[in-house]
């Protein structure tokens, strides 16, 4: 019995640890449950940047991250997917449209000068000074305090270039372009050598603030187009969350009732193992952490049904062993040993499917595959180790005095078996010939 007590203490320790984790760590819910936007942006090559290299992606990631952070929403995610895509997740936003406009804007600031073309018309040409030469930008107003300005500070290199340019351009208009649109074209009065200036353009406060944010976050090195969007309003998200909780509770309760009705005392033990399974799973979800999505919860609920699968296989086998008159202790051991191969094989196939789903699936599918795989792995532990331990602790090594405990009838128990005819090895495996 010593080994069994040790295992029991180990299980107890795990349960306590899981409860502590569950209390102390927050659950991560997916955007489909709390509401929010999930966007996939794809980088598009331009004439200047004909190829999307990892470096281009890094700088795109950096700019998009800056913009997302500037939105002031907690727990946002920006990550690279594949070679030319970014995944952006923004929870709890009331207006996804604003976010989309904001993220996709190239935000390219350029200073241009006018030159006369061949046909005598004035055209704007680049001066080589752009948003890249900026140190930072901040919000400001004019002297009257009525009109909003975007103040900018150039870096050292930019200041020098800007000083040189403006000294050549006294009396001429300087075009300030934002994403190839002319914002304003003030006439240069004196050379600007301090590297500071402002952009005015009849801005509303919000517009000016946006431009400040854009300039500080940096221009996108290449345009980024939204190719996938999943936005869920908070109303639907909450509704789904409540419904999933309900479905989970109903599912667990019904499975537990079934187990007790059909398998009696072992069924009750399996239910305890199932509860421990639930605790362990939640603790693992929180430690990794797994983001719980609707499909993920479905995977978890399905894994409850699968977790008791192993127990059903074991109990059926144990019942068989009892029917042929094996002692209680031997029957329980044989039940576990003989059911193990089919449990292992069937769970391996599930793990195979889950890993393929994880490799090729979309993020929704990935969530489902991950929770199901974790569920299957943990259920191997709870359904086998935990149940076996409890069975031995409760039933001990005695005779089967109450066949009803296993849902068996007394007359079903065959006493006619003669062990001389069966070799010891076969008897251990539970095979009678």
């Amino acid at each position: 019995m010593k080994k069994e007590n040790l295992v029991f203490l180990f299980i107890l320790g795990l349960v306590v640890a899981s409860i502590l984790v569950i209390i102390n760590k927050p659950t991560k819910f997916g955007l489909d449950l709390i509401g929010g936007s999930r966007l996939v942006l794809e980088a598009r090559p331009t004439a200047e940047v004909p190829q999307i290299t990892p470096e281009v992606m890094d700088s795109l990631l950096y700019s998009i991250e800056n913009r997302v952070n500037a939105m002031g929403v907690a727990e946002t995610v920006v990550q690279k997917v594949g070679t030319n895509r970014l995944l952006v997740e923004i929870p709890n936003i009331s207006d996804p449209q604003k976010a989309k406009d904001y993220l996709g804007k190239t935000a390219n600031l350029e200073f241009k000068k006018q030159v006369k073309g061949f046909n005598g018309q004035e055209t704007w040409v680049s001066t080589g000074i752009s948003g890249k030469d900026l140190k930072n930008a901040y919000l400001g107003t004019d002297q009257t305090g009525h009109e909003w300005h975007v103040n900018f500070v150039l870096n050292d290199k930019g200041s020098k270039k800007f000083g040189k340019l403006t000294s050549e351009m006294v009396g001429k208009p300087l075009g300030i372009f934002f994403d190839n649109e002319l914002v304003s074209s003030p006439v240069v009065n004196t050379p600007i050598t301090g590297g500071e200036g402002y952009i005015s353009g009849n801005f509303k406060r919000e517009e000016a603030q946006n431009m400040v944010n854009f300039l500080n976050a940096g221009a996108l090195p290449v345009p980024a187009v939204i190719i996938e969007e999943n936005s869920v309003g908070p109303t639907l998200g909450l509704d789904s969350l409540h419904k999933s909780e309900m479905a989970g509770l109903v599912g667990i309760t019904l499975v537990m009732i079934f187990m007790i009705l059909y398998y009696r005392v072992p069924g009750f033990i399996a239910n305890i193992a199932l509860s421990i399974y639930g605790l362990l799973i939640f603790a693992i979800f929180k430690i990794i952490p797994v983001t719980l999505t609707l499909a993920g919860i479905a995977g978890f609920i399905l894994s409850i049904g699968m977790a008791v699968d192993a127990n059903i296989l074991i109990f059926e086998r144990t019942k068989e062993e009892l029917r042929i008159g094996r002692t209680l202790y031997a029957a329980i051991n044989a039940g576990f040993e003989r059911a193990f191969t089919s449990i292992f094989d069937s769970n391996m196939t599930t793990i195979i499917t889950c890993s393929i789903l994880y490799m090729f699936g979309t993020s929704i599918v990935k969530g489902f595959a991950l929770t199901l795989a974790i569920g299957v792995a943990v259920s191997m532990f709870t359904a086998i180790t935990v149940t076996k331990n409890f069975m031995h602790l409760i039933f001990g090594a005695g005779e089967l005095t109450h066949p009803g405990w296993f849902g068996l009838k007394k007359e079903e128990i065959g006493k006619a078996i003669s062990f001389e005819e069966t070799t010891a090895r076969k008897a251990k495996l539970g095979v009678i010939d």
Binding site: V73, T235, H242, I304, G305, T341, L357
Partner: protein, 343 residues
């Protein structure tokens, strides 16, 4: 010497009535295949099931309204949408009897401002992929038209998949399906034998075809669309069906070791199926219980996904009891005949 497990009367005789069991499967599969072929002819996408925006690319917008939306409103919305160039929008309405209750208890986020939004009807619009950025923002246009035609709404959901991405997702889903089949057949060949693996695979195809056929029919009747979650459901069903098949096969393998001298393979198969009958049914039953709970109480977005799994698990249980072992017995019988008279 008696072994009560062996002497117990067999509940089903799988070998004797093999044509009945296989015939029942064929009676299900033949119509399923016909429906899928018919769908492949009539759908512009030439797919055996009606595919959703996940695979074709497109935009799905869902709005909640606090009033009832009637059919004339919908046809008006359709004409208004077509006026701005949204061609052939698919519009669906759904009445909500139970109110969506929004409580602040579960969200620890103060930014969620919607309180007590009681939604009576839900309108979904599905169109080609709409741009949602820049000057020509089609999504905003559609939003405005919905507001003008039907009044104030609560935005429930937006999903948009770019057309090239749709193709990519479809390709990935097909690769995943194929890999799963190969993965399972490979594993079973290693753990059992090639004949076990092939019979299990036929049972898997049986289940996959049945579920696809059922959804093909739903697509024709109710316009049910298949998304990437559906592929997941098929794969899960496959995994589950293999579970059941393995339980039976494991028993056949075990019994063959000790009984092969006394009994024919047909008898062994029969005994094994009957010995494992209770567990085959019970394991599927517990999974079915949880799935039914998900179907009736769970979120609406995963409903079709769960339905596919329910159908798949039912056929999966049938196929592993009545197809896989029957086929295996027939295979072995054929093999025995071949070795008996080498022509």
């Amino acid at each position: 010497m008696t072994n009560p497990n062996l002497e117990r009367k067999n509940i089903v005789d799988i070998v004797k009535y093999k044509w009945l069991w296989l015939g029942f499967s064929l009676a299900l599969l033949v119509p399923a295949i016909i429906i899928m072929i018919y769908s492949m002819i009539i759908y512009p996408s030439h797919t055996p099931v009606r595919v959703g925006i996940d695979f074709t690319g497109g935009t799905m917008l869902q709005y909640g309204f606090s009033k009832e939306i009637k059919d004339p409103d919908i046809s008006m919305l359709r004409t208004n949408l077509q006026k701005v160039g949204v061609t052939n929008p698919v519009i669906q309405t759904e009445k909500k009897s139970n109110k969506i209750i929004v409580s602040d208890k579960t969200t620890k986020t103060p930014t969620v401002q919607q309180t007590n939004a009681s939604i009576k009807s839900i309108v979904s619009i599905r169109t080609k992929f709409l741009s949602s950025q820049g000057a020509n923002n089609e999504t905003i246009k559609v939003n405005n038209i919905v507001k003008q035609t039907l009044g104030e709404y609560v935005p429930l959901q937006v999903s948009a998949i770019g057309p090239t991405l749709g193709k990519e997702l479809f390709k990935n889903a097909m690769i995943a399906l194929l890999l799963c089949f190969f993965g399972i057949i490979g594993y079973l060949t290693i753990r059992f034998n090639i004949d076990f693996a092939v019979c299990a695979l036929i049972a898997l195809f049986h289940d996959a075809i049945f579920v696809c056929g059922a959804f093909s029919l739903f697509g024709l009747l109710f316009g049910t669309e298949v998304d990437s979650l559906f592929i997941t459901a098929i794969l899960t069903v496959i995994g589950f069906s293999v579970h059941d098949t393995i339980v039976v096969f494991d028993r056949i393998r075990e019994n063959s070791k000790y009984l092969s001298k006394k009994k024919s393979f047909n008898e062994i198969a029969n005994i094994s199926v009957n010995q494992t009958l209770a567990r085959s049914i019970n394991t599927s039953l517990t999974a079915l219980i949880t799935l039914l709970a998900l179907y009736f109480f769970g979120g609406s977005t995963t409903k079709d996904f769960v339905l596919a799994m329910i159908l798949g698990i039912i056929t999966g249980t049938y196929s592993s009891i009545f197809n896989a072992s029957v086929l295996l017995a027939m295979w072995r019988e054929g093999e025995a005949k071949l070795t008996a008279k080498p022509a």
